[in-house]
Amino acid sequence: SQKIEQNSEALNIQEGKTATLTCNYTNYSPAYLQWYRQDPGRGPVFLLLIRENEKEKRKERLKVTFDTTLKQSLFHITASQPADSATYLCALVADSNYQLIWGAGTKLIIKP
């Protein structure tokens, strides 16, 4: 079955360092992958999208990579700040081309 895995353990990072989050998937060939941020008690907020023919995408301090051979996406936050603390979810497009299959997210904690 199709499966998306994100590290269920919280990731603790010192302020100023680069945080790297991982999204692995199996039994699927997505056309694109999206990353969202979710704060406690709030809905997810879209951050970045990367297509299958793109290796890397950047937006300010954020960088996403997509390796279709490894079936993996990495999400990087450089110069991390305590305000970056949140849960980050990855999502893949489903066969319908607009529905998403979601990972459970990784909680990121940036320590001052």
Partner: protein, 114 residues
Amino acid sequence: DAMVIQNPRYQVTQFGKPVTLSCSQTLNHNVMYWYQQKSSQAPKLLFHYYDKDFNNEADTPDNFQSRRPNTSFCFLDIRSPGLGDAAMYLCATSRPDRDGQPQHFGDGTRLSIL
């Protein structure tokens, strides 16, 4: 600002007492989704509307129903809530005429069952 608004933010109901959650959007998006999310879990799609076409997920319990009276509004009805239905319910919209368009979420309704 265009947005997705869910009401109420918090809802408490009694076991077995019907409850309705509402969602409105000013984005004019074709598709509206209802998700259920429990703590530390992925959002679970319950159903979605593409315009007026209703699409139910195979594993969505019959206890859950939805209505979309117009483009802007969508409702989630839980006919007889059980303790296992306590969760965050998220409404989202998207405009799938372009590949990869993100989903836009409301801030959810936290449902508690007494």
